[in-house]
């Protein structure tokens, strides 16, 4: 592989940024480089990463979804409410996860109807449905905070894969979720690169008309994309509820920007047609590094939002400048051909 090309890739820049930031934070406060802190950063990125994978697929397809955090908390909260209402208390966590994913897919299907069947611009459609979902949840399903969530979910919050007690300092705990999350990440990557559906998502983002002429159904692909986002957001929502050990219907709302920022920083093109799972993973890590450790740098926590906004702004600006440079060089090369 061309070394210069490798250097210019978005992923390389992200790795450099993450390493630099880690070194700076680590130099300021040595407790950053402990296993406990590393595991904490991982734990806080699980839910974010799931959401980000969903958003990545939407952004590759050329759309944007701002309803996914609401879909997530709707699914998680409703699953808990359902289980409490019917007094289901199974030993394992599979039932709530299945319920939440089901609800998520159903909500995603509503987005699909608005976007695929009626061709409403994606931002406007999802903005509208996010209002509907949040309003319906808080009016009809419940608006109170549930702290005694079903036992299986509660227990899952402390299910650790391994515990390491260093000679000094705090106990480092790696949550068992690391395995399914890694698996899902690999699966999404395979889905995007190796399946017909994944390739049609890239094609759709590259150009709608060209995709239609390839014989790929635009509507069916779009519908699948938004149902996929719904399902994965439902999963993220129930895991969020479990990890927090409480179901608060007001949570997650407003976090859409952090996730979109992570995906865009990860190199996904906002115009659609380009994006990698690896870049998204790095983007999520960078954002949670900043969110969790700004305080260690001596910056007040109230600057978090500004930092994310600035990062997102830098990310999209760099993308746009690269894009216009590419377009210019293309124009120059065709002019040369004409001259010859």
């Amino acid at each position: 592989m061309d070394f210069k090309k490798l250097l210019l890739r978005n992923e390389t820049a992200l790795i450099v940024a993450i390493v630099l930031l880690s070194v700076i934070i680590g130099a300021k406060s040595p407790e950053f480089f402990t296993l406990a802190n590393l595991f904490d950063i991982l734990r806080s990125s699980f839910v974010q990463l799931l959401f980000a994978l969903g958003v990545l697929v939407v952004i590759i397809s050329g759309g944007i979804d701002v309803s996914f955090p609401v879909v997530g908390i709707f699914s998680g909260y409703s699953a808990v409410v359902l289980m409490k209402h019917f007094e289901w208390n199974p030993g394992n966590i599979l039932l709530p996860i299945a319920i939440a994913i089901g609800i998520g897919i159903a909500l995603g299907a509503l987005n699909s109807i608005a976007i695929a069947s009626f061709g409403i611009p994606t931002l406007i459609a999802t903005l509208g449905t996010s209002g509907i979902f949040r309003g319906v949840m808080l009016t009809f399903i419940g608006s109170s905070f549930i702290s005694d969530i079903p036992l299986a979910l509660d227990k899952f919050a402390t299910a650790d894969l391994l515990k390491i007690q260093p000679l000094e300092g705090t106990l480092a705990r790696l949550h068992v979720l690391i395995i399914p999350i890694v698996l899902i990440t690999i699966l999404v990557s395979l889905m995007l690169n190796r399946t017909m559906f994944g390739r049609s998502v890239y094609a759709l983002g590259g150009g709608v008309e060209a995709t239609r002429r390839l014989g790929i159904s635009i509507k069916r692909t779009q519908a699948k994309v938004y149902m996929f986002v719904g399902g994965i957001s439902g999963l993220a929502g129930i895991l969020y509820v479990s990890l927090q050990r409480k179901a608060n219907p007001y949570d997650l709302y407003g976090s859409e920007l952090d996730i979109i920022a992570a995906v865009v920083l990860g190199g996904a093109s906002i115009m659609g047609g380009y994006g990698t799972v690896f870049g998204t993973v790095l983007g999520v890590l960078l954002i949670s590094l900043i969110k969790g450790n700004l305080i260690l740098l001596g910056v007040s926590g109230s600057w978090q939002r500004a930092a994310i906004g600035a990062l997102l702004l830098i990310g999209i600006t760099v993308q746009a400048i690269n894009e216009s440079r590419k377009a210019k060089s293309r124009r120059v090369s065709t002019r040369d051909e004409v001259a010859q």
Partner: protein, 340 residues
């Protein structure tokens, strides 16, 4: 008789969308007046509506202008809060312990607030018009950045206790009409004149209808877009000042729900989200409809989240209706041309 009807028809009623909206406005008014005769149909309610409509209407006009060019401005609320915060900060600092402040200092504070808003708008203009970043993401990012800076500087605390003269603007009356309402009418007239009677206004519609055609006609499409985001920021700052003077406070997280509301208003008002079509009359009527729905729901003691769901539903429903009507119109005109 027929001729006279045609004359009326070619004037105000020529625009089908505005006619529809007038019918919707009247219907909403009658329904709520009948259901809740003593609370909704009271002068107290109408007065309070006249104080609440202006801020939403002005923010919606700002969104409408950006939508006319085919973009969208999601940073309106952040910009209006930034302007209000700067003005409030100057006023409270100058006031010290006294309750009043000289009129000239209030004016200076307001101008400083507007200048900060314009600076924010200039950032939007540069990023969108100069660097060709997609407006949705650009303004999402700048909105977060401005909001983040405001939170960082104020630590998330609101500034309250503004001078009495300043509050009189937002709470007083001019010739018996609430002052904010008068300001709104003035702003609507000026913006209406701007988009309908000036060259720049005409160019706005051209850029929104067909950006490529605008580019080929060498009319400076970038400059048009740059101006629009500046004007949008100016209107947002004015709305921010009106909100501050009505509530006597400024806060970085005020009115975050206004973004959805403004987009609902604009879409309901018949503005085409892809650019090129929209009227000020439509936007003002749509604001009135939504404010009546909000007040009506209040009178019927529905929760605010039910109103949120209704907003989302109105947005999605109106978009679907537009698509369905458009499809029918197209198929009808095709069959008509086939017949002849």
């Amino acid at each position: 008789m027929n001729e006279r009807f045609k004359k009326i028809n070619s004037g105000l009623l020529a625009d089908r969308k505005v006619t529809q909206l007038m019918a919707i406005t009247a219907a909403t008014f009658i329904i709520f007046s009948v259901i809740s005769r003593d609370i909704f149909f009271s002068s107290a309610n109408f007065t309070s509506m006249a104080y609440q409509i202006p801020e939403i209407a002005i923010l919606s006009i700002a969104v409408m202008l950006s939508m006319l060019t085919g973009g969208i401005d999601l940073s309106i609320v952040s910009v209006s809060n930034a302007a209000a915060l700067v003005a409030a900060w100057i006023m409270t600092n100058k006031m010290g312990d006294s309750d009043t402040l000289s009129t000239s200092w209030i004016l200076i504070a307001c101008i400083a607030g507007i200048l900060v808003g314009l600076a924010a708008g200039a950032v939007n203009s540069i990023i969108i018009a100069r660097l060709d970043v997609t407006p949705i993401l650009a303004t999402l990012a700048t909105g977060t950045l401005f909001n983040g800076i405001a939170i960082g500087l104020t630590d998330g605390v609101s500034i309250s206790g503004l001078p009495e003269q300043f509050m009189r603007v937002g709470n007083g009356t001019l010739l018996g009409i609430p002052t904010p309402f008068v300001l709104m009418v003035a702003i609507a007239l000026v913006v209406g004149l701007f988009i309908n009677r000036t060259t720049l206004g005409l160019k706005v519609f051209l850029v929104g209808t067909n950006r490529q055609a605008a580019q080929y006609s060498v009319m400076g499409d970038r400059r048009v877009i740059a101006w629009i985001y500046l004007i949008s920021a100016l209107l947002s700052s004015l709305a921010g000042l009106i909100i501050a003077s009505r509530t006597s406070a400024a806060s970085p997280d005020f009115g975050s729900s206004y973004i959805l509301l403004a987009i609902v208003v604009v879409v309901l008002g018949g503005v085409n989200p892809n650019g090129g079509f929209g009227t000020i009359t439509g936007v003002i009527l749509a604001t009135a409809v939504l404010q009546m729905v909000s007040s009506g729901f209040n009178a019927l003691r529905f929760s605010q989240f039910f109103y949120l769901a209704a907003q989302g539903a109105v947005l999605v429903f109106v978009m679907i209706l537009n698509v369905v009507l458009e499809r029918r119109r197209v198929s009808r005109s095709i069959s008509r041309s086939l017949r002849s």
